[in-house]
C-alpha cells in the first residue's frame, strides 16, 4: 500500500476562487504583453533589461523550488530514508516552481518564437552561462515530470507501468540532483559577467556559483519546512515537526557555511567599509544578513527546532533571506549607470502574481486529488 494519499477535500473553496480572480487579472496583462509588446506592461529599459519576470520568476522562483532537490539529496544521497514522507509534496512544489520559471523565461523572451534556437547545436555558444541555465532548467523540468510520474500512475492504478518506471527511476533521481546543482550555481556565475553593475558587496566573482548553490540548497530545505508547517495548519493535519526539526539542523550547517564564506570574502577583499556605508546597499545588506542570522540562531537550539511555530518563522526568514540575496544582487543594488532606474509596473507585478496564483491553485488541486501527502499515521510515527 502507498504511503501517500489524496487529501480528498473539496477543490473549489473560497480561497481557490479568490486565487482564480487574481490569475485572470494576470492573464489579462499577459495577453497585453504579447499583443502590444513588453513595453506595454513592464518598466524595463536599456539599463535594466531584466525585471521581476527574470529575477522573481526565474532566479528566485527556481531557488524556492529547490525543495525536491534538497530532499532528493538528503534521502537518496545521504540515505536518510525517514524524510521520505516529505518528498512528494516537495517534488510537486518543485515541478510547479520550475514550471513557473519556464513560463517566466518564455514570456520574458523578447523573441520567444525563436526559442528553439537554444536547442540547435549549431546555434549554441558554449561560453554562455545563459546557455547552460537554459538547457539545464529545461532538462530538469522534464526530470521533475518523470520524478512525479509515479504519483500520477498510482492515481490511475497503472501498476505495471509503475513497476517498470521504478526500476529505472534511480537514474532520473541522480539527474535530479545533478541538474539543479549545475544551473543553480550558474545563476550565480551569471552575475560575474554583469561586472561593475553588480554592487561590490554582491560581486563575489569566483565565489558566485558556490554562494548561489548554497543558498538555493538552504532555500530548498526551508521551503520543505515551510510547506510542511503550513499544510499541517492549513489542512489541520498532524504536524510533522519531528521530521522538520531534523531538516532544521541541516539548515543551520548550511547557513553557517554560507555566512563564513560570505563574510570571509568581504573581509579578504577589504569591503567591510561598504557594509556600514549607510547607503541603500549597506541597509539592504544588513537586512539580508539579519534574515540569514535569525534562522541560524533559532534553529541552533533544540528547543527552537522542536517548536512548530519557531520552525515556521525560521523557515520564512531563511526564504526571505535567500530571496533578498538574489533581489539585491540582480535588481535592488544593481547600478547600470546614470539615467537608468527600475521599479516594476503594476501590470508587470500582476503578471507575476497571477502566475504564482495559478501555481498555488494547481498545487491545491493536485494534493487534494492525487496521492501526494504522506498518510497521517505515517507522518506521526517518530521513526518511520
Amino acid at each position: 500500500m502507498s504511503h501517500y494519499q489524496p487529501l480528498g477535500r473539496r477543490v473549489v473553496t473560497l480561497p481557490f476562487v479568490f486565487l482564480g480572480v487574481i490569475a485572470l487579472i494576470g492573464l489579462y496583462f499577459l495577453a497585453e504583453r504579447f499583443i502590444n509588446g513588453m513595453g506595454a506592461v513592464t518598466n524595463l529599459n536599456g539599463g535594466f533589461p531584466w525585471g521581476i519576470w527574470v529575477v522573481y520568476d526565474i532566479v528566485v522562483g527556481t531557488a524556492l523550488a529547490c525543495g525536491g532537490y534538497a530532499l532528493a539529496v538528503t534521502v537518496y544521497v545521504f540515505n536518510k530514508g525517514k524524510y521520505h514522507p516529505l518528498i512528494r509534496p516537495a517534488l510537486l512544489a518543485s515541478l510547479l516552481g520550475y514550471g513557473l520559471g519556464g513560463v517566466g523565461a518564455i514570456i520574458d523572451m523578447g523573441r520567444w518564437w525563436q526559442f528553439y534556437n537554444l536547442f540547435l547545436p549549431w546555434q549554441m555558444n558554449f561560453n554562455s552561462v545563459m546557455l547552460e541555465v537554459g538547457l539545464c532548467v529545461s532538462a530538469y523540468i522534464v526530470v521533475l515530470m518523470i520524478e512525479f510520474l509515479p504519483t500520477v500512475l498510482e492515481k490511475f492504478k497503472a501498476e505495471a507501468l509503475l513497476k517498470k518506471l521504478n526500476k529505472v527511476l534511480f537514474v532520473v533521481i541522480a539527474l535530479g540532483v545533478l541538474l539543479p546543482t549545475m544551473h543553480q550555481s550558474s545563476l550565480g556565475t551569471m552575475l560575474i559577467a554583469m561586472g561593475w553593475k553588480v554592487h561590490p558587496l554582491w560581486q563575489t566573482l569566483h565565489l558566485q556559483p558556490l554562494l548561489a548553490v548554497l543558498t538555493a540548497f538552504t532555500m530548498g530545505f526551508s521551503i520543505v519546512v515551510f510547506e510542511g508547517s503550513l499544510s499541517s495548519v492549513g489542512f489541520r493535519r498532524k504536524p510533522e515537526t519531528h521530521l522538520l526539526s531534523g531538516l532544521g539542523r541541516i539548515i543551520v550547517g548550511l547557513i553557517a557555511t554560507y555566512l563564513v564564506i560570505r563574510f570571509g570574502e568581504i573581509l579578504v577583499r577589504g569591503k567591510l567599509g561598504l557594509v556600514f556605508a549607510g547607503d541603500l546597499a549597506s541597509l539592504m545588506f544588513l537586512i539580508e544578513t539579519a534574515l540569514f542570522v535569525y534562522p541560524l540562531v533559532v534553529l541552533m537550539s533544540p528547543r527552537g527546532r522542536g517548536n512548530a511555530r519557531s520552525l515556521l518563522f525560521a523557515a520564512v526568514s531563511m526564504l526571505l533571506a535567500g530571496t533578498l540575496y538574489r533581489f539585491n544582487a540582480f535588481l535592488i543594488t544593481l547600478d547600470p549607470g546614470p539615467g537608468y532606474s527600475y521599479f516594476p509596473a503594476l501590470p508587470e507585478i500582476m503578471v507575476t502574481v497571477g502566475l504564482v496564483a495559478i501555481e498555488i491553485m494547481v498545487f491545491l488541486f493536485v494534493v487534494k486529488t492525487f496521492p501526494v501527502m504522506p498518510r497521517e499515521d505515517h507522518a506521526a510515527a517518530p521513526n518511520a
Binding site: 509588446g37 513595453g39 531584466w50 537518496y76 540515505n79 512528494r88 523578447g110 554562455s128 534511480f170 558556490l210
Partner: protein, 322 residues
Amino acid sequence: MNRRDFLRASLGSAAAALTSSGASARPNLTPAPEAIGMLFDSTLCVGCKACVSACKAVNGLPPTLLGDDVQYDSARDLSHETYNVIKVYTNGKPVAKDSETDGFAFEKRSCMHCVDPGCVSVCPVTALVRHPLTGIVTYDKDACIGCRTCMTGCPYNVPQFDYDNPWGMLHKCQMCNQKGVERIDKGGMTGCAEACPTGATLFGSRTALLEEAKRRMQLRPGEIYNYPRGDVRQPSSHHEKAVPHYQHHVWGEKEAGGTNVMHISSIPFDKLGMPPLGERSHVSISEGVQHTLYSYMALPAVVLGGLTWLVKRNTDDEGDDV
C-alpha cells in the same frame, strides 16, 4: 571506497571546482588581426550631431523628436532607434569648452566594439559575433531569442531592445557593416566618421588610430596640429587647430581588454560617464568558471556516475518508490 569517503571526496572537489580560482581562467582576448575601429576626440567635437543623423540614414532609423522641435534629432541616449548619440557634459557656468570646471564637453556614445566583448560571450545562441578579422561585433536577429543577457553583459549598456514592438529585436551599432549595408567590406567607412566635419570621429585600423591618439598626447598644448578627417590612413582632408590639454589616457586601449572604438578627451572619462572598468574583462572570469566546471562535461559526468551509484544503492536499501 565507502559511501562516506566518496561523499567527502566529491563534495571537496565540487567545492574546489565551484570556487575555481585562476588555474583555468582564460586571459582577455586580444585585438583581431585586422581590427577596424574609430577614434573619438572629444576636444574636436562641436556637437553638431551630423554623425547622429548620418547614422540614422545609413541604418534606416527614424529621428527622435522632442515636442515640436523638428530641426534636430533630439535623441538623449542610445535606444532602439539611436545607435549613436552625442551627449554633453556641463559643469558650473558652462562657458569654456573642454574645461572640467565651468565648462562643457561633448561625448559620443555608440558600440565600443570591445576586443573581448561581453555581449558575444554571454549570448546563448551566438546571435552576437565578433568578426575574426575585423573584430566588428554584429548581430543576427534570426538567431536572437530576445533574452537580453547581452544587455546585462555589456559594460556600456549599448545593446537596446525595442520593448514597444511585440516583434521587437535588439539594436546596436554594427560599424555600418551588417548584412545589406556592408560599407566596410566595400572599402568604405562608417557613416558617422564620414559625416564628421571636424574629424572628431575618425575611422581606421585600431593600430593606426591608437598611434594617432598617442601622437596627439605627445603634442604640446597650444601647438598647431594638422588634424585629419575621415579615414586616418588616407584622410579626405585636414584642418589646423591648436592642441588642447589632453588627458593622458586613451579610453579603450586597455579597459576590460580594450575596445576598437577609442576615446580621447580633456575631461577625465569618469566625468564623461564612462564606467569604472579595470583591465580584466569580466567575461574572461565568467568563462573561466564556466569552462572549469563544464570542460568536456567531464566533471558533471563523473558526478552523475557517482550519484547514480549512490541513488541505486539507497533506493535498493529502501525497497521503496518515490
